[in-house]
Amino acid sequence: MNVDKTILLLKQGKHISEDTVYSLCLKAQELLINEANVTHVDTPVTICGDIHGQLHDLLTLFDKSGGVEKSRYIFLGDFVDRGFYSLESFLLLLCYKLRYPDRISLIRGNHETRQITKVYGFYDEVMRKYGNSNVWRYCCEVFDYLSLGAIINNKIFCVHGGLSPDVDTIDEIRAIDRKQEVPHEGAMCDLLWSDPDEVETWSLSPRGAGFLFGENEVNKFLRTNDIELITRAHQLVMEGYKEMFNGGLVTVWSAPNYCYRCGNVAAVLRIEDDLSKNYTIFEAVQAQDGVGNAIIPTKKTQMDYFL
């Protein structure tokens, strides 16, 4: 398998053989198994939020932010589901990881699990493209090896969802056995699922599972770990990013026109050597094939004689 060649094919959204996916996933696992639960990353680095299978927007993201050949990246998870190119998006990131291992960090999102991908599109997409689920299984194996977080210059903590009442220090995250399907409870689950909210203290989500955390918890976590900022993704933001709690936490969202109908813009956050923050905003592209036809089905109003 030739990684550079695969990258070229993926960028054009072309079919990748099952064998290639298999060896790609195997190599990625060998690489990821050596990474810590919380990887150390140096500045300057670009932090990216949810991608959700929007391959063409992922390509725009690299285009607008320097590209992996020149810059360092952290992806906060949710590479798959919802969009039409989950497989290509995830494989492209894996290829980059293999090709430039120290320039890209991949963090697990709540969609990088067997259970969620079966419901929200990735599994269906693989069935449609290959007629069997093998490729989905290979990818799910890789999901189990993805990191749970990253720390930039020991000052900025990156995670997909948010904090957990079971986790006071970043060292406690390092002790988790992460190589498994995301459990329904516990620290690993919370890190991938919890949301910030205007609450005084840890609070149960009204859904009956999952935590909400507020400014107090964020401040406590920042103090305990001697860090300045928590960056997370997981929630759609119309403007691409949203700072909360006096700048102690920021949500970064990198899927423009989410689900091809929300009309939102996307953002990535670049952290400079002096830890200053720079947001780059970008819009959705209308992907076209060689002769100018749109290849992403747009949500066009379909007239029908409903009753």
């Binding site: 607008k64 709540n110 969609h111 969620i116 419901v119 929200y120 599994y123 269906d124 069935m127 689920s133 009442p165 079971d166 329904h184 409870e185 516990g186 699922w193 949301d195 909210d197 609450v199 005084e200 203290t201 840890w202 609070s203 149960l204 989500s205 009204p206 859904r207 009956g208 599972a209 999952g210 935590f211 909400l212 929630q235 759609l236 933001v237 119309m238 403007e239 949203k242 989410y258 109908r261 929300c262 009309g263 939102n264 720079n278 947001y279 780059t280 905003i281 970008f282 109003t301 379909q302 007239m303 029908d304 004689y305 409903f306 009753l307």
Partner: protein, 361 residues
């Protein structure tokens, strides 16, 4: 930051292109101003015989107020809201039949400023759904009767209860048990309150919204209101006729993925024919492994009779009971039917039906 202002040259260019696109939709007319009319900015379209003889001529009665749309039946094709322009030029398609005006508006989801306003003022106490198409709207207006009916997200969300819905995700008990056990074992310093719901609101966003009745002149009280009569039935025979659809639109008002535990979505669509219109506003809720709920509101207007009927139906059932009604599927994804709200509504028990009407004198 990469945010840049819009260049004025781009604006004029885009405007020009937009107006060319619009004018290109009209078939050639004999005279530029053949359709003069008393209504400003309106175009009465030429009679069917000059424009489109391929179709049985309809009685000349409707007006395309805002011709920013593919032309109506008399010109050849159906009015469907026009394709999105590259700039935020607002398209506001409308149609008028007799004294009835129907219009729709579609825009992107609310931005943070609008969301803040909704969260801290208009809908205080509600954690808002993930996607709110808060500037989308369907309007049905009768100018002569000073009466209007609108469907929008704000009014729909005002009917979401600010109390515990009682609904929990499927793994809630398991999750809570494990937390309680863990607390005992580890003596962790999670204080007891962390396992309580502090902020109560109906996270399923269930709304029994039936549309908002209003007075066109801005008065608080609309001059006509609905009278209840549950014995009424929608005239399915009339509505099943393949009458040409003159105006059609379909829009989401709000949607939430329930943190990947299902879906909660409010969708409204409308079709206008020569003699009548039908609007369906459907709230669809699926909490995976737990619950299915569909709340349908249908508005039927018979133009010549100045008659409006509103029917509401509430369907609700256990998730697995409804899934089990779909036995024939051998597909790899048997749950696909649960994403089809029509199938679900047809297979979920009807809890309640109500009907009401207005007959304008």
């Amino acid at each position: 930051m990469d945010k840049k202002g819009i260049n004025t040259i781009e604006i004029s260019a885009a405007r020009e292109m937009h107006s060319r696109t619009i004018s290109a939709r009209f078939p050639q007319r004999g005279n530029a101003n053949s359709g003069s009319t008393s209504l400003p900015n309106s175009t009465v379209l030429p009679s069917a015989s000059t424009a489109a003889s391929f179709r049985k001529p309809l009685p000349m009665r409707h007006i395309c107020n805002n011709p920013n749309n593919p032309p109506c039946a008399n010109c050849g094709t159906t009015i469907i809201p026009s394709p999105k322009a590259s700039l935020p030029l607002e398209d506001n398609p409308q149609i008028t039949i007799n004294n009835w005006k129907i219009s729709t508006r579609k825009k992107p989801i609310l931005n943070s400023k609008e969301l803040d306003d909704w969260e801290s003022n208009k809908l205080k106490g509600l954690t808002l759904p993930e996607m709110i198409f808060g500037n989308n709207e369907i309007l049905i207006e009768n100018k002569d009767k000073n009466w209007g009916l609108r469907f929008n997200a704000l009014d729909a969300l005002k009917e979401v209860k600010l109390q515990d819905s009682g609904v929990r995700v499927s793994y809630s008990n398991k999750w809570l048990d494990s937390k309680h056990k863990q607390k005992k074992m580890d003596n962790l310093d999670i204080d007891a309150s962390s396992l309580k719901i502090i902020h109560n609101y109906d996270w399923t966003y269930t709304t029994h919204y039936k549309g908002t009745v209003f007075a066109l002149n801005g008065e608080e009280q609309a001059p006509y209101d609905f009278h209840s009569d549950d014995s009424l039935q929608l005239p399915i025979d009339k509505l099943s006729k393949p009458d040409k659809i003159l105006f059609f639109d379909d829009m989401i008002l709000f949607e939430d993925e329930l943190a990947d535990n299902g879906i909660s979505i409010l969708n409204s669509k409308i079709r206008v024919m020569n003699e009548r219109l039908l609007l369906l506003s459907r709230f669809f809720l699926r909490v995976d492994e737990v619950l299915i709920r569909v709340i349908d509101t249908r508005i039927y207007v018979e133009f010549d009779d100045n008659y409006v009927m509103r029917e509401t139906k509430v369907f609700e059932g256990n998730y697995n009971d409804i899934l089990s009604k779909h036995k024939l599927s051998h597909s790899h994804d048997p749950k696909a039917v649960l994403r089809d709200s029509d199938w679900v509504a047809a297979h979920t028990p009807l809890l309640k039906r109500e009907c009401e009407f207005i007959r304008f004198d």
